[in-house]
Symmetry: C2
Subunit: 200 residues, 2 copies
């Protein structure tokens, strides 16, 4: 995945966040309309939206299990909400989408102009998306899970500027060395006593 | 709408329920998976599932504003849940879908076999559906409303058998005379002082 990321962030990229967004069958909740960068500017003082999200589908995603829904092209406008941080955020470790939710009026205008599109596909699908694209999702009413791995790469020139205590290391990556692709064959461990083992 | 209804209920049909199911933009809630007839048997003692639902879209319905989602063909199996009424229902005037919700296990089996389909289309679309089709819906995350008129016709030989106090007349229709189509031109009232008025 590093290849396309380095095309977008040629100065070098490191892993800023690595998370699995899991929506359970029947009960998985929706997410309010928001822009990721609004959260990261707020929580970690990231100076610029120079990041790339890479989403990897662990499950088939359809209209029924709460796909991410984007407003196509909305990332070209920058941050929609210029408002300051909420006085009492829902969490200090995690920026709740509700705290950075776009207003109904802003959403009406945006969607009238640009429409909506759900991001669907079979398990294994990889999608890249901009940290300022407006997106949200509905509930998962289906009997199927919707687990989405999201790896967020940050530009090495775009380091967090923490106002106070930084968020935990399991929320925001501390290793900011630029990642180097290894152009080597995948090392597959030999499977002892297995007829289908690949020689090491 | 009475034409196709009378094809399905040739002994005669009357209006059992007439309601608008309104899902507001951004906040409209979902409905658990259920079968309508389970509610009507429970609340009004309807002997048989001899009813027809006619849905009329007041708004464009897409995957984004909480469409009804059906399990196609599920009405052929009759009631999935044979369980008795819940001991403490959520409401006495209205059977909450939660009280008659299908179990996750039943839903997994059904959907694996029959799949899911969302009922979408432009405003003005009319859909007929069986009172035993398994259906539900997700939240409305879009900036658009989703208002759905549902007229439920009951067979005149399938009268309610109330165990106690009948539900209010605004919930369950009292006029059980079989409806007769009027094959007459629509009477349009004249619009006084209007250039676009239609002559009476």
């Amino acid at each position: 995945m590093l290849g396309p990321v380095r095309q977008l962030l040629p100065a070098g990229a490191y892993i800023y966040q690595f998370k699995i967004n899991s929506k359970a069958p029947f009960v998985g909740a929706g997410w309010s309309w928001h822009q990721d960068y609004a959260a990261w500017r707020l929580a970690d003082g990231l100076p610029r939206p120079d990041l790339v999200n890479v989403g990897v589908f662990f499950d088939d995603v359809s209209e029924f299990n709460g796909p991410v829904v984007v407003v196509p092209g909305s990332h070209r406008d920058g941050l929609v909400t210029k408002a300051p941080a909420p006085a009492s955020p829902a969490s200090h470790q995690h920026v709740d989408p509700q705290d950075i939710a776009l207003t109904p009026e802003d959403m009406r205008t945006l969607v009238r102009r640009l429409g909506m599109r759900s991001v669907t596909g079979p398990a294994g699908t990889v999608v890249l998306f901009h940290p300022e694209i407006v997106h949200g999702s509905a509930t998962n009413m289906s009997p199927y899970p919707r687990r989405l791995l999201i790896v967020t790469y940050n530009d090495v020139r775009n380091m967090p500027r923490y106002a106070g205590q930084p968020r935990s290391a399991y929320v925001v990556g501390r290793d900011t060395e630029p990642l180097q692709p290894e152009d080597l064959p995948l090392a597959v461990p030999a499977l002892a006593d297995s007829a289908v083992g690949v020689p090491a």
